[in-house]
């Protein structure tokens, strides 16, 4: 069993007005050194797969088809093995395709 941790964010090229609004609040708290606030979604999936590669492939397909809209979002996948014998994790950043 693998755990896929998926982060979906607006593409860097797209203005994130929600992030901007939150950043204004952060700055009004006095943290003038905070910048480039971006807001996104965090999604976890448990995947019953025979290998980390297979789990990653499934997470990627699900992200492409549903979790992220490639017109406006990028996603990042981290796969963590939940198998008792393993303690490894790997992560990979996927850039959304524009179409």
């Amino acid at each position: 069993m693998y755990l896929a941790k998926i982060k979906v964010t607006l593409k860097k090229s797209i203005l994130d007005p929600q992030g901007k609004a939150v950043e204004h609040s952060i700055q009004s708290l006095g943290y003038k050194n905070v910048e480039d606030t971006r807001i996104g979604k965090y999604i976890e999936l448990k995947i019953n797969a025979s290998s980390e590669e297979e789990a990653e492939k499934i997470a990627e397909e699900v992200s492409d088809k549903l979790l992220a809209n490639p017109v406006m979002e990028d996603y990042e996948i981290e796969i963590v093995s939940l198998n008792p014998s393993s303690n490894g994790s790997s992560s990979k950043i996927h850039a959304g395709k524009v179409h």
Partner: protein, 226 residues
């Protein structure tokens, strides 16, 4: 030649389905039926209206879940065969998610839910959705309400150029209320049989509600089938 038979898709969370039904049935005296999202076919309907609302609670992204509902498979098949599909507000978001129209609708630039009458320019009166907007409609400017949080249309530069060059931007805001690229309020697909628009024509079909300009969208469709 066939008579218009409207089908209005109802998803959990649709809330403009009855407005559309009222405009089509009681104002325009048309043959209208609701189609439930679990249905597998649109039956004998030859015009599909995907109404506004909050299908599936806007979970994940507006329109993202509705796109995978049972009936949408048949709607996509119908649209790809040249069938007439109109996506209004949430319906616009759904047809974009379903790939029937390019681009996507982002959160409004000012982060606010905007609910008001807006003035639109009818940019292309030669589509099956706009042919009834003749010159007498206040010089091509019409008043139709909007009510949305996510109407900020975006697409890549290449798509934008294609939309502009081929007159596929059908409605444009006179004053952009949401940050949409080039003030886009509504577009059609390449073949011209799928319309997506954020403003609500069904809510502007009688003078008693402040405007009847939206009625011409439906009248255009009806005329195109007669």
């Amino acid at each position: 030649m066939s008579k218009a038979k409207f089908g209005i898709i109802v998803f959990p969370g649709s809330n403009c389905d009855h407005d559309a039904y009222h405009a089509l049935k009681h104002v325009l005296n048309q043959d209208v039926e609701f189609l439930w999202h679990k249905d597998s076919t649109i039956g004998d309907r030859n015009v599909i209206v995907i109404p506004g609302g909050f299908s599936y609670g806007d979970y994940l992204r507006c329109g993202a879940i509705a796109r995978f509902s049972n009936i949408m498979k048949d709607v996509v098949r119908f649209a790809n065969n040249g069938g007439i599909v109109t996506g209004i507000c949430n319906g616009f978001q759904i047809v974009c998610e379903a790939g029937l129209l390019p681009g996507a609708l982002l959160r409004n630039a000012n982060l606010k839910f905007v609910c008001k009458n807006v003035t639109l320019n009818v940019e292309n009166k030669k589509t099956i959705f706009t042919s009834a907007f003749n010159g007498s409609v206040n010089k091509g400017k019409i008043v139709i309400p909007i009510a949305h949080s996510d109407g900020n249309y975006i697409c890549d530069e290449e798509t934008l150029k294609e939309l502009e060059d081929n007159n596929r931007i059908v409605f444009r805001y006179v004053e952009c209320p949401n940050g949409a690229l080039n003030s886009i309020a509504g577009i059609v697909n390449k073949k011209g049989n799928v319309l997506g628009m954020m403003p609500h024509p069904e809510r502007a079909s009688e003078d008693i509600v402040g405007s009847h300009d939206g009625r011409y969208v439906f009248e255009s469709i009806i005329q195109s089938l007669n």
